[in-house]
């Protein structure tokens, strides 16, 4: 079992047999290794190898620029220790997990079609161990035969029944989402590793909530909205929920929001579609969701705690709009960039 030391910090941890990368081994040990996406896409978990040998199955992960490769930087979410290591990597208490991640094999207890390409999967943890996470967080799912991992956000709330619910969109050509859709039936098994992520509900914030979701980003936004309405301490907060799809068939989540206590008074649901030419019967908003948010909330954006989830171009365009046009401070914008 290799030991990984982080140079200059005194921090060290072991990578156990079942752990699949340096990053998640360190987080599971409770250390604040810098990270965001956990999927090779953002580059926050870059490190320099000082001593030892690693396995690096994906040396061309998109987060590694030509400059990174030239300088020998690696991604902690994509590398596994083969021997004891000394690495140089940023750590910060803000990254230390609030709920320690755990890795366990769960059983699919139900599945339900939500739209033509989004399915709700509910997994049951063994012995109904508490599902401990914060609304908005994600977990890594891996098939027992090794396919994966992929990051998916939970759509439900933490619970004592051991239920981990995900709304997953089928990614065209996606190996893991394709297998989840085509192979996984009730009673099937999946390895869950989580929770991870920083785009969780800030229950202590006094601000009203702005949720902006595109496509599969509905899953964590549903969790956030549920978290706000079910938390008695957040009673005064309003939720402005924007959801962008391509066509009306993509829009979902309203039924689940409607059953929450206080929905009528506190939730403002704004669906929009980006391909109106395909749906002449649509009379609602059309265009990109960040443009619709800007048009409707323009000069009051800075009063919101903002949660975003969706495809990277949507998250980037929305973040830019919130900061440049909305003057929203970075600290009020929350997203995990793995979609």
């Amino acid at each position: 079992m290799p030991t990984i030391k982080i140079e200059g910090t005194g921090e060290q941890f072991e990578q156990t047999e079942s752990q699949d990368c340096i990053l998640r081994a360190g987080l599971t040990a409770g250390y604040g290794l810098a990270y965001e996406c956990n999927s090779g896409g953002c580059g926050t978990c870059k490190f320099q190898l000082i001593e030892g040998e690693i396995e690096e199955p994906w040396p061309t992960a998109p987060a590694l620029s030509a400059r990174d490769i030239k300088k020998g930087r690696k991604l902690a979410c994509q590398c596994k220790a083969k021997t004891d290591l000394v690495i140089k990597m940023r750590t910060d208490p803000e990254y230390a997990p609030i709920n320690l991640p755990a890795r366990f094999e769960a059983t699919l207890s139900s599945r339900r079609d939500v739209t033509s390409d989004i399915v709700e999967f509910c997994f049951q943890a063994p012995d109904s161990a508490d599902a401990k996470f914060l609304p908005g967080q994600y977990a890594m799912l891996t098939f027992p035969d090794g396919r994966g991992p992929r990051a998916y956000s939970m759509s439900n709330l933490p619970n004592g029944d051991g239920v981990w619910e995900f709304w997953i969109r089928r990614k065209p050509g996606g190996e893991v989402s394709g297998a989840l859709f085509d192979e996984l039936r009730v009673g099937g098994r999946i390895v869950v590793d989580g929770p991870y992520g920083h785009a969780y509900l800030r229950a202590e914030s006094e601000r009203d909530i702005l949720c902006i979701a595109g496509g599969s980003g509905i899953s964590p936004m549903l969790s956030i909205a549920r978290g706000v309405l079910m938390d008695p301490d957040m009673e005064g907060r309003q939720v402005h929920f924007y959801f962008g799809g391509r066509t009306p068939d993509d829009l979902c989540g309203l039924d689940e929001l409607k059953v929450l206590p206080g929905f009528q008074e506190r939730v403002h649901y704004h669906p929009a579609i980006s391909m109106p030419e395909e749906s002449p019967e649509w009379t609602g908003d059309t265009g990109f969701i960040h443009e619709i948010v800007e048009n409707q909330l323009g000069n009051e954006l800075s009063r919101f705690e903002c949660y975003l989830a969706g495809p990277p171009p949507m998250v980037q365009a929305t973040t830019k709009m919130l900061q440049l046009q909305g003057n929203v401070p970075t600290g009020q914008i929350h997203y995990d960039p793995f979609y």
């Binding site: 810098a34 965001e36 953002c42 580059g43 926050t44 870059k46 987060a63 620029s65 400059r67 990174d68 300088k71 940023r90 980037q316 973040t319 830019k320 900061q323 440049l324 970075t330 960039p337």
Partner: protein
């Protein structure tokens, strides 16, 4: 050597103190820190604090392409203008005029400008 009040002519270092693609952070009184870069034999200066994540850019890396890469999230800025180039950096930095006189590098802290 440095009159602390002389914001228009604030002494940074000797011209030869920095090699190409090196930078130095300065902490002028009454304003956030500034970083002065040397690239291709020329000097440039911007705010030192990344507009995204509170990181010190002086701990990042600058290359021949005039791009400073933030050490935290890998976002980038153009050191000549302060413009944000790569996500997650979105808001620009202020850039400052730099002069070299008699082998000494000075920055004009009163003329910091963000790109339009």
């Amino acid at each position: 050597m440095n009159d602390a009040n002389d914001r228009k002519h604030f002494y940074v270092c000797k011209e030869d103190d920095l090699a190409d693609n090196e930078m130095v952070r300065i902490d002028p009184p009454d304003q956030p820190p500034v970083v002065v870069y040397k690239v291709g034999g020329n000097f440039f200066a911007t705010d030192n604090t990344c507009t995204h994540g509170e990181a010190s850019l002086a701990e990042g890396e600058v290359d021949d392409d005039f791009i400073i890469e933030c050490p935290f999230h890998g976002g980038t800025f153009d050191i000549r203008t302060g413009e944000a180039v790569d996500f997650p950096c979105v808001l620009p930095l202020k850039s400052y005029p730099v002069t070299v006189e008699g082998g000494c590098v000075y920055v004009n802290l009163d003329e910091g400008k963000a790109p339009a």
